[in-house]
Symmetry: C2
Subunit: 289 residues, 2 copies
């Protein structure tokens, strides 16, 4: 089964379990909207690619790890779009969740998706408890305080922002979790895989900054120019478009150099190159280096 | 060490870990405010009492299970108080979290506390993976969809509310988790302990309804008469004060009858009777039956 099918099936199973007997129908519907409405799935694809490179032997564990990371990502998008943060009207080419379902259900959808990430993990805990222990730590580190995505979002409420802490937490944390979780799901030591995820998270942040400056809104499913409008730092604003593209290239090269020795390193390099090539707006895209 | 000391120490340790290197200071402060600002700790006390009754052998596992349940409870209070839900001004005798820290940090505090509950569990996962597997399932069931506290709150957004599903999810779920987690932390089969928690959750809901009608605001640290003001169901409104007190007595009796056979059942009965006695407003309190 290909990676895309595995990821979509695992996510669909998770939201279906949430919509079990006794579920309030509005929240169940909102969770489907948040999770199944497209998305690049770049983090769970990375998780699967690392697990395969590490000689994956328990695909069910990889699948819940990858979908847990995507569920945490979806939760953060729903909460970040709320009126008290970005008040975003559009996401993935459709109304943002609070515009479609109201603010109350948007708060609860984020909460329920965070819990759902861990409920997915619980499904394999009896079967593979020694694999689940490191995954539990990886998810907490990526999502929570002091350096996960919740911390990243909270830096936006600080007057005295530590930019590197902000970006590493807001974007890098889930990429580091994707690579570490892929390794842990395959029974490998996770720690040495964080560095690859960190570099890819930085690269993704730069690419996101470039898209915010240079993409077509229809291409990325949300408005552009948000960073300038909201006074947020942007690499393309600071370095210029050409400088930001060069920075992206050097970060991808650093990521490739950070791949630990593993049986499937060649396929993993190819996966990362292909993903990096797809991050730029079409007008700027070049063949993968 | 007594139960109160164990619980407060475990909660203080959790919020201190959240405030680690690189943490955004505002969110770290808000988390302390949400967790360490008092609270009856009735759920973690119940968890510890059940673990002791079951012959507790890994106190560190019980402590993280009990504090995880309290952290989920604190998270739900912060989010339920938000303007898009109850818009509560006061909680535990102080300004509610969003009044003290703003709405953005209130959303993030709830999120971070949900994750912190699982981060606590991760601390003992390496040491006791076979105990952590059932605890992971218990926390997810209590917090998430389809029947946990998030589902309970979501029923308030439905026009066609299923009252029993609403109350069982909103209040009962964390009590059932407290008893089940106490048993699981002590290595016992958790399933047979849910029923005790369900009955205690119902009893707590009735007592809460009585307090909302008959308590002094200073005694409970929040305004009274909120159910009538917000159009929510209230047992004392439906049955009268006397009828609601009788209902409370019968639920406590049903709870005592639901205690599974265990080495410390006599002490557990005494704990439950004492807790039940403390739930009523002072003006209505009677000696424990």
């Amino acid at each position: 089964m290909d990676a895309e099918t595995r990821i979509e099936r695992s996510l669909a199973n998770a939201v279906s379990r949430a919509d079990g007997d006794g579920a309030p129908p509005g929240l169940a519907s909102a969770m489907r909207y948040a999770v199944l409405g497209g998305g690049s799935r770049i983090r769970p694809r990375l998780c699967l690619a690392v697990a395969r490179a590490c000689g994956e032997d328990h695909p069910a564990v990889t699948d819940v790890a990858a979908s847990a990371i995507e569920l945490l990502h979806c939760a953060s998008l729903v909460h970040d779009d709320l009126p008290c943060f970005d008040d975003a009207a559009m996401r993935r080419g459709r109304p943002s969740l609070h515009r479609a379902y109201g603010e109350s259900l948007a708060v609860l959808t984020g909460d329920a998706l965070i819990v759902l990430a861990y409920q997915s993990l619980a499904l394999v805990a009896d079967h593979a408890p020694r694999r689940v222990a490191p995954l539990l730590a990886i998810l907490g580190r990526a999502a929570g305080m002091p350096r996960g995505i919740v911390a990243g979002q909270a830096w936006e409420s600080e007057s005295d922002i530590v930019l590197s802490d902000y970006q590493r937490a807001k974007t890098g944390a889930l990429f580091a979790a994707a690579t570490a979780a892929g390794a842990a799901a395959a029974g490998r030591e996770a720690a040495e895989w964080h560095r690859l995820g960190d570099r890819l998270g930085e690269a993704y942040q730069v690419a996101d900054d470039i898209r915010d400056v240079a993409a077509d809104p229809g291409e990325i499913g949300k408005p552009v120019g948000r960073d300038r409008a909201l006074g947020r730092p942007n690499a393309a604003g600071q370095l210029g478009l050409r400088g930001a593209c060069e920075r992206l290239d050097s970060l991808v090269a650093a990521a490739l150099a950070a791949i630990p020795p593993c049986p499937g390193s060649a396929e993993l390099r190819a996966h990362i190159r292909a993903q990096a090539g797809s991050l730029l707006p079409r007008a700027l895209a070049r063949p993968a280096a």
